[in-house]
Every structure is written in structure tokens, then in C-alpha cells.
């Protein structure tokens, strides 16, 4: 980052002025910190991951922890979890100083983690997951599990997290948010005093996110502290008592409750003000590019989707996770067959029996799961980019490496893919750069319809802005862009119009004037907009 000239503005307390006096809103203000870090430094070969970092955590405090990828968040978590030892600094828990924590220290001190990737056993039920390895046993040589007692122990925990499922539900039947509740219940079962939630909402739909934020407030009311790590700043805004911003391993600033604003956080994260994302594009949407009529997917065989995407517009497709958005995109891209209905491209009917047909027609998809479906991690950048378009890079079915190379180089400079060379393996790139490779693949061809499925999930804020810029540029040249997104800021900030899906059908389409968070939410849960 280049923003070294950043100076403090209203409400921003920098690392130099310690955050002891800031907390005015939390009801925990009278209590002393039970856990604190002082001047902690951690280096890895070649990288200073965390430097001069101090923090105090008081009971019942919700701390929002934000920062771009690589800002030092995971290192901080590792130190608190006893997985990594700091090179320097002190960790004080209940007045006892430690040079480093062991995993046992961390557990005994009541520090519990809910990781982004959940660690539950899908083949076991809720109760078994919560007390795995700590099951209450019957006496006797067989050490059988005391199921009645287990249930008795699990019930109050589930009640505390407000679970709407029973202890004997198999985890495989739970939604993602419910699984997170199980993880939190597990944290409570070890008498946690500090629960660290790492990107808990990154794959949660809107309604479930609300539920999770409710659980966090419940924890706070019980006097349990929470560190909430998230890229979704409005959620941090709504739940945190205090926000700590990390940048390049250093404390970039602390925001007290009253000073927690989206723009302030972004400013501190990137060290400069990000240009407002509201686009002032002059472009006019053109004729209908893609017209879907009566499309039915296997998930909702009795519902039909009717949707028009215009040339030169970004149509946001919002909705709860599981509302059938990805399934619709898969049909339009020819991955799945539609159970009925028809697709028209520029007024002409198209029949897609495979993704190859879609690609040949000019319908491209940037899939939701980048590593699973978007790229080949072991292939070079150039090979990834040429993959859908090899016929253009070959003569007599033999591939011309030179042609691949030229195209890849052009895309690399066009998209600003940061890599030593186009021969670099994509697996070694950062998430944002990987996503750019997925984009480059399609931009090197002639897109008519571009579908983006959660285009910026897990990508840091700088790369996000660039992806948005590319999407706008595509729309400016008349491409019809369909953007599936569960990120409310993104849906509202980037789209020209927004279609909202609810249980397998389009529940409404919002023009720019009607576009706000409330209307999207209302449609997403199947109600009418204001």
C-alpha cells in the first residue's frame, strides 16, 4: 500500500494513542481487561506478519477486526490460539504474563475459535459434534457413551445460541448458519470467555447473517467477549463495540463505537480513501441480450424463472443462498439442462446441451467456487487463459505456445495480474489475482453475456475495486452482465438493476430509483417492496 501520508481524522485513534479511554458505549467499560497483548511481533521467513501490536480485551466486548488479506489477522489468531509463538512481546491473561501461549493455555483460558471453514463431522449429529472426544461415559469397562447425559449437557448450550434444531439432528441436514451455531455451542461448552469468529458470514445468506449477529449479541449479554473478523463492513458496523484495523502487520487504527463507519474502516484498511463505488456511468442499456422464459431447475422443478438481461447493463441477482440463483446460472451456462422453458440470445432461440455450446455462443460464467471450478491451480496463467479458446491458439489441432503467451501477456497487463510471468502456476497467486485469471480467460474471447457468481468472495478490497471496474468496463462496451451476489453493498453499489430471487423464482426487479437494502431484503424473503 502506498498511503503512508495518512493522518488521523475525527474519531480515529491511532496506535500511538492507546485505546484505553475510547470505549464509551460498552457496558463492559468498568471491567478490567482479562486478556491483553503488549507490543507483539511475529515474523516469518521474509515477512513481518505482525509488529508492535497491542490490544486489551474486556469481558463482554465485541471487537471487530478488519484488514485486507495479509494484514496480519490470521497471525494474530494463531498467536491467541497458541499455534504460533511471537518473537517478542507479552501476552497477559488474568494478570499472568506469558511469552507465548500453548494450545492448552489458550483452551484453558477460554479462547475458542470458529473458523471460516467449519470443522464439523457431517456424518455425526449435533450433540456428538459438540462433545466429540469429551463424551460423558457410562461406568464399566466398555466406556459406552452416556447418551442421556450427553443430551442433557447439549440442550442448554443449544438454547443459549438460539438453535432451532435438535441435538440429534445430523449435521449434514443443517444449513451453514446452523452449523456455525453448532460451532459456537461447542465454544460455549468449553466455557469460552473469548470467541473468535473468522469470517463467519462470508458464505451466509442475508437472513442467516442476521441470526448470527443476534447470537453474537447474546454472547455479549452473557459477558463473553467476541472478536469478529469480517470483510463485510456493514456487519462489523452493526455489531462491534470497537473496531481494530490491521494493515501490513501493524495496528492502523482503532475506532470507538461512535466512530465506526464504513468509510473510516476502508480508509484505515487501505491507507487511503477509496473512490466512492457508486458509478456515474453515462451508458444506456440497450436491447434485450439474454431472455430466459420458463426456465426450471432441478432444485425447484415447479418454479419457473423469467428474466431479461440487457446489453450494456449490470443486472444484480440477489436473494438468499439456496434461492436458486446459482442453479439458474448453471442452466444458462449449459452445465445443467433446464427442465423446461427456453433461452433466447438477441432474439434467437439457443439450445445449450453443454457448457461448450454456451462458450461457443458467447455466454461465459465466472463461477462461485474459484478453486473448484474457475481455474486449474497447477496450470500456468497462460494455459488457464487459453483453455476455453484453444482452437484459436492452434493450427491443425496442435497448440501454438507463442500464441498462448501473447494473449496471456496482453491480458496480464490489461487486468493488472500480479505475477512474475504468465508461466507462473496460478496456485501461487493471491485470491484476487486468481479471480483476475478467471476473468482474463473470458475477456480474451468475445463475451456477449457475462455471468459472475459471487465475483468478489474472499478477495481483498483493492482487488474488489478492480473487479468492479472491469465489470463496469464490460457493460460499457455493451456486454450484458449478470452478477449473482450475496453481498448487499456489492449488489446495491455495482448493479444498474437488481432482480431478486426467492425460492426458485424472480420475486421482483428493482430499478435504480427503488434500489436500497430494505427492498432487496423484502423481496428476498418473498415480500413486496415498499
Amino acid at each position: 500500500m502506498t498511503g503512508n501520508g495518512f493522518t488521523a481524522t475525527d474519531g480515529v485513534n491511532h496506535a500511538e494513542s492507546m485505546p484505553g479511554t475510547i470505549d464509551t458505549s460498552s457496558d463492559a467499560r468498568h471491567q478490567a481487561a482479562f486478556l491483553s497483548l503488549h507490543d507483539v511481533r511475529k515474523t516469518y521467513p521474509g515477512v513481518v506478519a505482525l509488529d508492535g501490536f497491542s490490544i486489551e480485551i474486556r469481558p463482554g466486548e465485541v471487537i471487530g477486526l478488519v484488514g485486507e488479506n495479509g494484514a496480519g489477522k490470521s497471525t494474530l489468531m494463531k498467536i491467541l490460539g497458541g499455534v504460533a509463538a511471537p518473537d517478542r512481546g507479552l501476552i497477559r491473561i488474568d494478570g499472568v504474563d506469558h511469552d507465548r501461549l500453548t494450545v492448552e493455555n489458550s483452551l484453558q483460558s477460554g479462547i475458542a475459535f470458529v473458523h471460516q471453514e467449519l470443522n464439523l463431522f457431517e456424518n455425526l449429529d449435533v450433540a456428538a459434534n459438540i462433545f466429540l472426544g469429551r463424551e460423558p461415559l457410562h461406568g464399566g469397562p466398555l466406556k459406552l457413551v452416556d447418551r442421556a447425559k450427553l443430551r442433557e449437557m447439549v440442550l442448554p448450550l443449544l438454547k443459549r445460541v438460539g438453535a432451532n434444531f435438535t441435538a440429534d439432528t445430523p449435521v449434514s441436514e443443517l444449513s451453514l448458519a446452523q452449523q456455525q451455531m453448532v460451532e459456537i455451542a461447542k465454544a460455549l461448552s468449553i466455557k469460552a470467555r473469548l470467541v473468535i469468529l473468522d469470517e463467519p458470514t462470508s458464505s451466509l445468506p442475508l437472513a442467516e447473517t442476521e441470526k448470527l449477529l443476534g447470537v453474537i449479541k447474546g454472547l455479549k449479554a452473557e459477558g463473553i467477549s467476541v472478536i469478529f473478523i469480517s470483510h463485510r463492513l456493514h456487519e462489523v458496523e452493526s455489531v462491534a463495540d470497537r473496531v481494530i484495523v490491521l494493515r501490513d502487520g501493524m495496528l492502523a487504527g482503532t475506532l470507538a463505537r461512535d466512530a465506526i463507519h464504513h468509510d473510516q474502516m476502508v480508509k484505515l484498511m487501505i491507507g487511503r480513501a477509496l473512490k466512492a463505488r457508486t458509478h456515474t456511468s453515462e451508458r444506456e442499456a440497450g436491447a434485450v441480450a439474454l431472455s430466459a422464459r420458463g426456465i426450471r431447475t432441478a432444485t425447484y422443478p415447479h418454479r419457473t424463472v423469467d428474466l431479461d438481461v440487457l446489453h450494456g447493463e449490470i443486472l444484480g441477482l440477489a436473494g438468499l443462498v439456496g434461492s436458486g440463483r446459482t442453479e439458474f446460472a448453471r442452466v444458462v451456462f449449459g452445465i445443467d439442462r433446464s427442465l423446461g422453458g427456453e433461452l433466447h440470445l438477441d432474439g434467437k432461440p439457443v439450445l445449450l446441451s453443454s457448457s461448450a455450446d454456451a462458450v461457443a455462443t458467447g455466454i461465459f460464467l465466472v463461477p462461485e467456487d474459484r478453486k473448484l471450478a474457475g481455474i486449474l491451480l497447477d496450470f500456468a496463467i497462460a494455459q488457464n487463459i487459453s483453455l476455453p479458446n484453444l482452437s484459436a491458439h492452434s493450427a491443425n489441432l496442435l497448440i501454438s505456445a507463442a500464441s498462448e503467451h501473447t494473449t496471456a501477456e496482453a491480458q496480464r497487463s490489461n487486468l493488472g495480474i500480479k505475477a512474475p510471468s504468465v508461466k507462473t502456476r496460478v496456485g501461487t497467486l493471491s485470491g484476487g489475482n486468481q479471480q483476475k485469471v478467471v476473468l482474463a480467460k473470458w475477456l480474451a474471447m468475445k463475451p456477449k453475456i457475462m455471468i459472475f457468481d459471487e465475483p468478489t468472495r474472499g478477495i481483498d478490497i483493492g482487488a474488489k475495486a478492480e473487479i468492479y471496474r472491469l465489470m463496469q468496463a464490460l457493460a460499457d462496451t455493451g456486454v450484458a452482465v449478470l452478477m449473482i451476489s450475496s453481498d448487499m453493498e456489492e449488489v446495491i453499489g455495482v448493479s444498474d438493476r437488481v432482480a431478486v430471487m426467492h425460492e426458485g423464482r424472480i420475486s421482483g426487479i428493482l430499478a435504480k430509483e427503488q434500489l436500497d437494502q430494505e427492498n432487496v431484503l423484502l423481496l428476498a424473503v418473498g415480500k413486496s417492496p415498499r
Binding site: 521474509g46 453443454s354 461448450a356 463461477p367 473448484l372 486449474l376 496450470f379 484453444l390 496442435l398
Partner: protein
């Protein structure tokens, strides 16, 4: 040739040198010719297997197919008086059709390659034995097919024609796998079938094509084996040959998860395996230990390879750390 291939080549030369010092007969033209004949026969079917393994699949029915197709071929030309070029083509087509059936079951009906081809292994062996009533298929006394015999079991300037056939197939398949669009698709599918599909590749057809290629090459080697042994007892002919092919591929740097390996690698693997067979014979090691020697060498080879990778990764990390701390 990558570093792994060169390592394997060095191993082949070293083992050869050791065997030659202990028993100079290793270098006799007759021994070299015999060994290269076997390399030709096994090399052809190993290349077929390689195409399937690249896609992340496996073909276990190779040995049984070699028995069944061999029996059919001999029966057609020896007992039914079919012209051999016609029978030759017919067997190749049959091999291709069987490969197509496997590919169809795997890609369209989503059965696991292991299961499909394991059933094939049992079915074709059974049919071969039933077809000959468990007897031996062979040529009548004095029956001769000079051209066919020259092409399959003959020699040119002392070099077995089967080996020459392997070199030709090697050249063609090298281009197909390493330079053609189809080859690139196979690697992409092997590495990540989902991502390949999301790039607009017709993955099902490509995988089916790989099984067809494997079937055709297996059929070709079945004819070569039949002409080499000249008589086939279907209960034992070709037993374990699929494992020779898989072993050659693994030795040659293939990953059974798919997406990795090269034509040069699988051929070097085949050469090393045949060299080991030869070593067992020449050094007077009891032939009952044959498989044990092979298994041991493959295990050591894979272990060394893996440790070497770990070592290199560590060295790279240290270097990076040094270059940064010296800045």
C-alpha cells in the same frame, strides 16, 4: 524430458551397468533384442493405460482383454480362414468399442472407473476361457503368415519390429498428449474436471476418447502378444499385465489422481520394469521373487521421489529466507 525423466534414465543406465558387470550376457545382442521386444509389447499397452490415468481413471481389464482379443485373433485367422489384415482391423475396432463401452459407463452412467474395469477384468477373462472351453488357442502345425509374423515378431537390422512399432506409437502419442488440443484437455480434466467443464470442454467425450485409445492400443498389443507366444492358454495369458502398465506409469511419474505424467515417463518406466525382469533372470535370483523385486523397486522409487520433492521444497524455502534476510 524433465528432471524426473532424467533421474529415471540415470537409474536405468546404472542398473544396466551393474547387471552388465556381474553378468556380461546382459549386453549380448540376443538378450538386448529379447528385452527390447518385451519393452515394445508392454510399452504399447502402457501408453494406452497412460491416457486413461492422465484423466484420473484406471483401466484394470487390460490383461483379460489381451487374453480375449488374442484368442479371437488367432481363432479368426487360424480356424476361420479370415484374411489377417481384416482380422487385425476387426480386433482393433473391437478393442476400441470395448474402450468406448467403458468410457460410456464411466462418464454417462457415472460409475467409478475402478469398478467398471474390474468387472471388465472378470468378464473378459471368463469369456476368453469359455470361448476356448479352457483349451489353448494356437496355430495348426505348419500354418504360416509370413508378413504378419515379420511385422509382429520379426526384426529389422536386428531390432525387433515390436520395438520399432513402439517407437512409432510413442512419437504419435507424444504429439497427441503433449502438443495437441486434445492432450491439453486430458491434462485439464485430470487436474480438475469441474474447472475443465466450466471452461467449456466436453469432458465426457474427452474421457471416453481416452478409454477408446486405451482399448485400441491394448488390442494392438494383444495381437503382438498373440504372435509372440503363438499359443494362448486363456486362463493365464496376460495375467497382471494391467498392473505392469500401471506400475510403469507410476514409476514414470504419473499420479493416479490424474493430470500428471508424460509419454517419455511411462516408456522409461516400462524399460526399467523389463530391465528388472531381465536382472532377475541374469543374476540367478529365484524367479519366484520376480514380483517382490518389482514391488520393492517401485516402492523405493516412489519414496525417493517424494522425499526428493520435500527436500527441494525445503531448500527453496531456505533460499527465499536467505535472500530476504540478506537484503
Amino acid at each position: 524430458m524433465n528432471k524426473k525423466d532424467i533421474g529415471l534414465l540415470i537409474l536405468i543406465v546404472v542398473v544396466g551397468a551393474v547387471v552388465a558387470t556381474i553378468n556380461p550376457r546382459f549386453l549380448l545382442p540376443i538378450n538386448l533384442a529379447n528385452t527390447s521386444n518385451l519393452i515394445g509389447l508392454f510399452g504399447i499397452l502402457s501408453i494406452g493405460q497412460a491416457f486413461v490415468i492422465i484423466t484420473g481413471g484406471i483401466e484394470l481389464s487390460v490383461g483379460s482383454l489381451i487374453a480375449l482379443l488374442g484368442v479371437l485373433f488367432i481363432d479368426l485367422i487360424a480356424n476361420h480362414g479370415m484374411a489377417w489384415p481384416l482380422a487385425f482391423m476387426l480386433i482393433l475396432v473391437l478393442g476400441g468399442l470395448i474402450g468406448l463401452a467403458h468410457g460410456w459407463l464411466i462418464t454417462r452412467l457415472k460409475l467409478q472407473p475402478f469398478v467398471v474395469t474390474l468387472c471388465g477384468l472378470l468378464i473378459y477373462r471368463g469369456i476368453a476361457r469359455f470361448y476356448t472351453a479352457d483349451g489353448t488357442a494356437g496355430f495348426a502345425f505348419g500354418q504360416n503368415f509370413p508378413t504378419l509374423e515379420f511385422l509382429t515378431a520379426g526384426r529389422t537390422y536386428g531390432i525387433p519390429n515390436s520395438f520399432i512399432a513402439l517407437l512409432v506409437i510413442m512419437g504419435v502419442t507424444w504429439v497427441v498428449l503433449h502438443r495437441s488440443v486434445f492432450g491439453r484437455y486430458l491434462y485439464a480434466i485430470g487436474k480438475n474436471e469441474e474447472a475443465a467443464r466450466y471452461s467449456g470442454i466436453r469432458t465426457g467425450r474427452m474421457v471416453m476418447a481416452a478409454y477408446v485409445i486405451c482399448g485400441v492400443l491394448t488390442a494392438l498389443s494383444a495381437i503382438y502378444f498373440a504372435m509372440y507366444t503363438r499359443s494362448i492358454s486363456p486362463a493365464s495369458h496376460g495375467n497382471f499385465y494391467e498392473l505392469y502398465a500401471i506400475a510403469a506409469a507410476v514409476l514414470g511419474g504419473f499420479s493416479l489422481r490424474g493430470g500428471e505424467g508424460s509419454i517419455v515417463g511411462v516408456i522409461l518406466g516400462t524399460i526399467l520394469l523389463q530391465e528388472l525382469q531381465n536382472l532377475v533372470n541374469l543374476l540367478g535370483i529365484p524367479s519366484s521373487l520376480n514380483f517382490a523385486v518389482m514391488g520393492g523397486v517401485i516402492l523405493i522409487g516412489v519414496l525417493v521421489d517424494q522425499q526428493w520433492d520435500i527436500f527441494r521444497a525445503k531448500r527453496r524455502l531456505n533460499k527465499a529466507a536467505q535472500s530476504i534476510s540478506s537484503n
